[in-house]
């Protein structure tokens, strides 16, 4: 076993290969591996985030559905109330209109009655005078007697 130049030769070779590995092999391989690691980490994180988003979306959808139901119930409730109110208002209006019409009719009737009474009164005095004239036949002071008849007619 001789120690010779091979020793130095191997040392130089060693440095050469280490240099090559350091320059061209290690950084490239490790870079790729680390990059992939990051990619996988990002992928996993993305999946987790998507899962969370999905859960959140489902929760939100449920909330919105419940809100919508509540709103619908409110709207129906309001509509019912409004309907009742409208009916009440309509009833009220109808009753008021009826009352008004009744009152107007009554007033008209009263007016007609008065007018008929007036006419009748006027006719009665004339008729009574004409009757009395016929009965008493003659010499009756028309003026004096008509006043008396008028009074009688007014009492009617």
């Amino acid at each position: 076993m001789n120690i010779n130049l091979t020793l130095i030769g191997q040392s130089i070779t060693f440095f050469a290969f280490v240099w090559f590995c350091m320059k061209f092999v290690w950084p490239a391989l490790l870079g790729v591996m680390q990059e992939r690691e990051q990619k996988i980490a990002a992928g996993l994180e993305g999946a987790e985030r998507a899962q969370k988003d999905l859960e959140l979306a489902q929760k939100r959808a449920g909330e919105q559905l419940r809100e919508a139901k509540e709103q619908a119930a409110e709207i129906i409730d309001g509509a019912n109330k409004r309907a009742i109110q409208i009916v009440d208002e309509a009833k009220e209006a109808a009753r008021a209109e009826g009352d008004r019409l009744k009152a107007a009719a009554e007033a008209e009737i009263a007016q007609e009655v008065n007018r008929a009474k007036e006419q009748l009164r006027a006719k009665v005095s004339t008729l009574a005078i004409a009757g009395a004239e016929k009965i008493l036949a003659k010499n009756i002071d028309a003026a004096a007697h008509s006043e008396m008849i008028d009074k009688l007619a007014a009492e009617l």
């Binding site: 120690i3 010779n4 091979t6 020793l7 191997q10 070779t13 290969f17 280490v18 590995c21 391989l29």
Partner: protein, 314 residues
Amino acid sequence: MAGESQTATSYIQHHLQNLAYGKLPAGYTRTDGTVLNESTWTIAHSPKEAADMGFWAIHLDSMFWSIGLGMLFCWLFYRAARKASTGVPTGFQSFVELIVGFIDSTVKDVFLHRNKMVAPMALTIFVWVFLMNLMDLVPVDWLPLAFAHGTSALTGADPHHVYFKVVPTTDLNITLGMALAVFALMIFFSVKEKGLLGFVKELTLHPFHTGKWFIDIFLIPFNFLLEAVALIAKPISLGLRLFGNLYAGEMIFILIAIVFGVGVLGFIGAGFLQMGWAIFHILVITLQAFVFMVLTTVYMGMAHDVEDEHKTDH
């Protein structure tokens, strides 16, 4: 399998000898009896020639497999890195990413400082050392025989003189070479993180420290001796551990290979032994690659630790 002309010893020796290319001095008598007129660069024809070349020799087989497997690693991982996409990883990409992820988490556990170099270095060490160790599982004779006969067919060289070791990590030069590089980085990062003065202080004022300078001054040589031994022991043990494990494993494969030649019973027995040891060795080679990587990372971490943290370590 031991050839007829080879004894078991020469077979083992042949398998443990690297293909050395180096300088033989003038006047050197070679194995075949020829005498060199002048100093020559040549391929060693025997273990003795390789030893006589001294420091100025290089193991062609170790360097070939080491560089080849390192380039295989770079090519495979560079291709994967270039094609990598952030989509679903498939096939080879997911395999590469598995290794990178494993290394990254291991380094993050062990090394608590910021340094762009440590993690890629750990990846390089782990895969490269693993590939080099993996050559141990190729049956011990295949590649050496193919190479020896190929060479002798091409150049007419005697196949017995062509040595070929296919597991670079069973060559002490390779493991210590890497440990030396790690050691250089330890020193570099120590000085860079703590400053030259800080590093010197760490070597001289630990582990014994009284706080009174007139006592500390006498403790400096003793501290320095302890710390220097501890520091140098790190790369040495790092290199020797890998070498020892793989060398022993290779040795056992060679011994099993010899048993193949001992009759029918030996052949069957060796078959089982070979399989058992190979299965066990899969664990060993992976573990040793991992240990080398983790220890390197730990040493880098120690180099980055500032003084206060360092105190608590001891």
